[in-house]
C-alpha cells in the first residue's frame, strides 16, 4: 500500500549483530532482556533498603524508645525514603523497566525494543537517580524527612530533617528518574505500536502487555506533573520565589516568602500521585490476568471487557486526584465531584475482579507458586479496594484521614497486592529468564508466610485507624483516648513485620540457589500459549527468535479448547491445525 513498512515486514533486511565483548553484552547492553534484568536487580536492591527502613519504623512503633538509633528526625527520614523508594524506585521501575522491558518484545514477537540505545540510556539514568537518592543518606543533615508527598512549606523550611541537602537531592533524583522513565516509556509505547510480529493484532496481545502499555501512557502524561512541581519547589528553595511558599515565620525568622500556595503544590503532586497508583496497579492487573489464565487452564473471562476496563481505569485516574486532599479545606461541591469520580472507578475495577474470579470458575486449577500468588493478590486487592470505597467518600474520609486506616488501605491495595504479583511473575517467568526451575516447596512456604504475615500486619492497622491512632507520629504523645491495647497491637504488628521480612530470605535463597543448581527448565514448563515461551532458546538469545520472526494466528487464551487433544494451543498454531476456542470455551 504505502511506502511505510512495519518492522516485522522488514525483518529480513536488518542485520542482527550479536554483541561480542562481556561489557557490551552485560554492562552497556542494548538487549531488552539484559536491561530488564538490570532494572529488576537495581529496583529490588533499593526495595530491600526501603524494607529495612520500614522495619526501623516498626521497631519504634512497636517498642517505643527502646532503640537509641531511632529518634524523631531519623524516623521521618525513614518514612519519607521508605515511601518514595517503594512507590517510584521499586514498583514503577520494576513493573515498567523490569517486566515491561522483558515482556513487551517477547510477548509481541519483536526482536528488541524499537530504540535499543535509548533503552540503555534509560537504565543508566535510572541508576543515576537511585545513586543520587541513596547519596542523600550520607550528606550533612541526612535524607529529607518531609514525607513522601514532600508538601511545602515544611519540606524546605528548617526543622524538617534533610533541609540542608536531602530535599535537594530528592528533587534532583526525581527529575533524573522522570527523564529515565520518559526514555523507557517512549520505547514501550512505540514498540507495542510498531514492532508487533505479523498477525499480532492489538486484540490478540496478552493482557500483561495491555496493562504495561496503558500504565506507560499514564506515566508519560502524569510524571510531568511531578517534574513541574519539583522544578517549582527547587525555584522556591534556591532562588527564593514564592510559587508554593506562603508568607510564613520560620523559627522566629522571616524567610522572605509571600503569597504562595501550598495547595497548588498538592494539586500538582496528586495530579501525578493518583495516576501513579494505577501506573503500579495496571501492570499488576495485566500480569495477574495471564497468570490466572495459564494456571487455571482457561481463557480469561471477558478479554475485551478486561482491555476496556484497563483503558477506562487509566482515563478515570486523571480526574480523581483531589480525593487525596479532602481535608485541605476544599469547596464541598469540589469534594462531591471527586468522590463521585472516585466511586465510578470502582466499576471497571469490579469488572476486573469478577472476571478474575470467573476465570477460576470451573477451571483446571494448578496451585503452583505463581498461581498461589495470583490468587493471593485477588484477596488482598479486594480488601484494599473495599477500604478505598470508605476513604473515597468525603464524610467517611474526614475522621479517618491521617490515621492508620489510610496506611492499611494503601498498603493493602498498592503495596502488598502489586508485590504479590511481582513475586508471582518472577516465579512464573523464572524458568524462561534463567533456564532453571525454582524450588517449588520453598516457593510455597514463601507464599504462605508472606500472605498470612501481611494480613497479620495490615488487618489490625484498620482497627487502629478506627480507634484514631494517627499516622506519621513518632510517638503517641497526648492520646489518652487510646486504650492500652493499642500499644499491644502495635507490638504484634511489629513482630509480624519482622517475621514477613525474614521470610523473604526464602525467596532470595530459592532464586540464587535455583539459578546456580536448579534443574534445567523445560522451554514451556506451564504449557502456555504466549510467544515468550516459544523462543528457540531458553533463556532467549540476542534477537529472541532465531532466523525467522514468529507469525501469530490466534489470541493468547486458547486453553482447554474442546476438540483439541492438548489443553493449550500456542499463538503460532495456524487454524487448519487446531480449532479456535470461542469465548468461554464454546466451539461453533
Amino acid at each position: 500500500m504505502s511506502s511505510y513498512v512495519a518492522i516485522a515486514d522488514r525483518d529480513h533486511e536488518i542485520e542482527h549483530h550479536d554483541p561480542q565483548t562481556f561489557i557490551r553484552k552485560y554492562v552497556w547492553s542494548q538487549d531488552h532482556k539484559v536491561i530488564a534484568i538490570q532494572y529488576g536487580i537495581t529496583a529490588i536492591f533499593v526495595g530491600l533498603i526501603a524494607l529495612g527502613l520500614s522495619l526501623m519504623m516498626r521497631l519504634q512503633l512497636g517498642f517505643p524508645n527502646e532503640f537509641e538509633f531511632i529518634n524523631p528526625e531519623s524516623y521521618y527520614q525513614f518514612i519519607t525514603m521508605h515511601g518514595m523508594i517503594m512507590v517510584i524506585y521499586l514498583l514503577t521501575a520494576l513493573f515498567l523497566g523490569g517486566f515491561g522491558n522483558y515482556l513487551i518484545p517477547l510477548m509481541c514477537g519483536a526482536r528488541d525494543m524499537v530504540f535499543p540505545y535509548m533503552n540503555m540510556l534509560s537504565y543508566w539514568a535510572y541508576l543515576l537517580s537511585v545513586i543520587i537518592l541513596l547519596a542523600s543518606f550520607f550528606v550533612p543533615g541526612g535524607a529529607t524527612g518531609a514525607g513522601w508527598t514532600l508538601y511545602p512549606p515544611q519540606a524546605i523550611l528548617p526543622g524538617t530533617p534533610g533541609v540542608e541537602w536531602g530535599i535537594l537531592l530528592m528533587l534532583v533524583s526525581l527529575a533524573v528518574f522522570i527523564v529515565a522513565f520518559t526514555m523507557g516509556g517512549l520505547n514501550y509505547v512505540t514498540t507495542v505500536l510498531q514492532a508487533r510480529c505479523r498477525g499480532m493484532t492489538l486484540m490478540r496481545m496478552p493482557l500483561s502487555v495491555w496493562g504495561i502499555f496503558i500504565a506507560t501512557i499514564l506515566g508519560l502524561l502524569a510524571f510531568p506533573a511531578l517534574l513541574v512541581s519539583a522544578i517549582m519547589m527547587l525555584f522556591d528553595m534556591n532562588l527564593g520565589t514564592s510559587f508554593f511558599m506562603p508568607a510564613i515565620s520560620s523559627m522566629g525568622v522571616d524567610p522572605g516568602f509571600v503569597g504562595g500556595s501550598p495547595i497548588l503544590f498538592q494539586h500538582l503532586f496528586w495530579f501525578f500521585g493518583h495516576p501513579e497508583v494505577y501506573i503500579v496497579a495496571l501492570p499488576a492487573f495485566g500480569i495477574v490476568s495471564d497468570l490466572l489464565s495459564v494456571h487455571a487452564r482457561k481463557n480469561i473471562f471477558g478479554y475485551r471487557m478486561m482491555v476496556w476496563a484497563l483503558i477506562a481505569i487509566g482515563g478515570l485516574s486523571f480526574v480523581v486526584w483531589a480525593h487525596h486532599m479532602y481535608v485541605s479545606g476544599m469547596h464541598p461541591y469540589f469534594g462531591f465531584f471527586f468522590a463521585t469520580t472516585t466511586l465510578i472507578i470502582a466499576v471497571p475495577t469490579a469488572i476486573k475482579v469478577y472476571n478474575w474470579v470467573l476465570t477460576l470458575w470451573e477451571g483446571n486449577i494448578h496451585l503452583r507458586v505463581p498461581m498461589l500468588f495470583a490468587i493471593g493478590f485477588i484477596f488482598t486487592f479486594i480488601h484494599g479496594g473495599l477500604t478505598g470505597l470508605f476513604l473515597g467518600n468525603v464524610t467517611i474520609d474526614m475522621p479517618l484521614s491521617d490515621t492508620y486506616f489510610v496506611v492499611a488501605h494503601f498498603h493493602m491495595v498498592m503495596g502488598v497486592s502489586p508485590i504479590l504479583v511481582v513475586f508471582g511473575a518472577i516465579y512464573h517467568w523464572f524458568p524462561k529468564i534463567t533456564g532453571k526451575m525454582y524450588n517449588e516447596t520453598l516457593g510455597k512456604w514463601h507464599f504462605w508466610m508472606t500472605f498470612l504475615g501481611t494480613y497479620a500486619i495490615y488487618l489490625p492497622m484498620h482497627y487502629l485507624g478506627f480507634q484514631g491512632v494517627p499516622r506519621r507520629y513518632f510517638a503517641m504523645g497526648n492520646t489518652d483516648f487510646l486504650p492500652e491495647s493499642a500499644q499491644a497491637l502495635n507490638a504484634a504488628i511489629t513482630i509480624s513485620a519482622l517475621f514477613v521480612a525474614a521470610t523473604q530470605i526464602l525467596f532470595f535463597v530459592n532464586m540464587i540457589w535455583s539459578m546456580k543448581s536448579g534443574k534445567k527448565a523445560d522451554p514451556n514448563p506451564w504449557d502456555a500459549t504466549t510467544l515468550e515461551w516459544l523462543t528457540p532458546d531458553t533463556p532467549p538469545k540476542h534477537g529472541n527468535w532465531g532466523p525467522d520472526l514468529p507469525v501469530v494466528h490466534r489470541w493468547a487464551y486458547d486453553y482447554s479448547v474442546p476438540g483439541y487433544e492438548d489443553d493449550f494451543i500456542p499463538q503460532t498454531v495456524p487454524p487448519e491445525q487446531a480449532p479456535a476456542g470461542r469465548d468461554h470455551g464454546v466451539v461453533d
Binding site: 524499537v114 512505540t190 505500536l193 508519560l220 517534574l227 510559587f243 500556595s261 495530579f271 489470541w555
Partner: protein, 220 residues
C-alpha cells in the same frame, strides 16, 4: 487545572478513538490466517515518528501543567502583571521565520534536492540561535530594570516558562547539530533526510508552544 484536563482530554480522546477503531468488533478468539490490521492503517508510519509524537504528547502535558499552575497562582492576591520586554516580539518573529526555513529545508529533503539541505539547515540553526540569545537578552533587560525572578510570582513564572521553552529548543538544537554534522560528512543521506523531517516537526511544535505561552504572558 482545567487547561491540563482539556489537553489530556484531547490527547486521550485521540488515542481512545484510534483504539476503538482497532478493537471495536474485533473477535479476538477467532483464529485465522494472518489478519494484518496491525500492519495497515494510518498509524503504520515509521517508528521514529511515533516516538517523536509520543514525546510531543509528554511535552504538551508538561507545558499544559505549567499553564494550569500559572492560572491557579495568578488568582492569589499578590500577582502584579509583568510588562513583557519588547524584544519578545522580535524573538517571536525570528522563531516563525526559523520554522518556515525548516519547512523549506524539509520540503527540499522530501524532494531529494540535496543542494538546498545544508544552506537550509544552517539558516535555520542561525535563526534559532538568534531566538535563544534574544530570550536571554529579554532576561537581562528584566533584571536590569529591577524585575528579578523573586520580585513577583508573575516574574517567577516568566523566567520559568521562557527557560523551560528554551531548554526544549536547546534539546532540538542538539539533534539539529547531529543532523548538520552528518549532512556535511555526506554519509547516510537517507537517514539524515529523515531526521530533518522529524526535526522540522519538532520546530513547528515548539513554535506553537511559544505562541501559546507568549499569548498567555501578553494577556495576563
Amino acid at each position: 487545572m482545567e487547561y491540563i484536563l482539556i489537553v489530556l482530554a484531547v490527547i486521550l480522546g485521540g488515542l481512545l478513538g484510534w483504539l476503538l477503531k482497532q478493537t471495536f468488533n474485533a473477535e479476538p478468539w477467532v483464529a485465522d490466517v494472518v489478519s494484518d490490521t496491525a500492519h495497515q492503517g494510518p498509524m503504520n508510519a515509521h517508528s521514529k515518528l511515533i516516538g517523536l509524537v509520543t514525546l510531543l504528547a509528554v511535552v504538551t502535558s508538561f507545558f499544559a501543567l505549567i499553564v494550569s499552575a500559572y492560572t491557579l497562582r495568578m488568582d492569589l492576591g499578590d500577582w502584579i502583571p509583568l510588562t513583557e520586554p519588547g524584544i519578545l516580539w522580535m524573538n517571536t518573529g525570528v522563531l516563525v521565520v526559523a520554522s518556515l526555513a525548516f519547512q523549506w529545508t524539509r520540503n527540499a529533503a522530501v524532494r531529494n534536492d540535496e543542494s538546498k539541505l545544508l544552506p537550509g539547515m544552517i539558516v535555520t540553526g542561525l535563526l534559532t540561535s538568534v531566538f535563544v540569545i534574544g530570550q536571554f537578552i529579554a532576561w537581562q533587560q528584566l533584571n536590569a530594570s529591577g524585575q528579578y525572578v523573586t520580585s513577583n510570582p508573575a516574574n517567577a513564572f516568566f523566567f520559568f516558562l521562557t527557560g523551560a521553552h528554551a531548554v526544549h529548543i536547546l534539546g532540538g538544537m542538539y539533534v539539529w547539530t547531529r543532523a548538520t554534522v552528518r549532512l556535511m560528512s555526506g554519509k547516510d543521506t537517507e537517514s539524515v533526510r529523515r531526521s530533518i523531517e522529524l526535526c522540522a516537526l519538532y520546530w513547528h511544535f515548539l513554535l506553537i508552544v511559544w505562541l501559546v505561552l507568549f499569548g498567555l504572558l501578553l494577556s495576563t
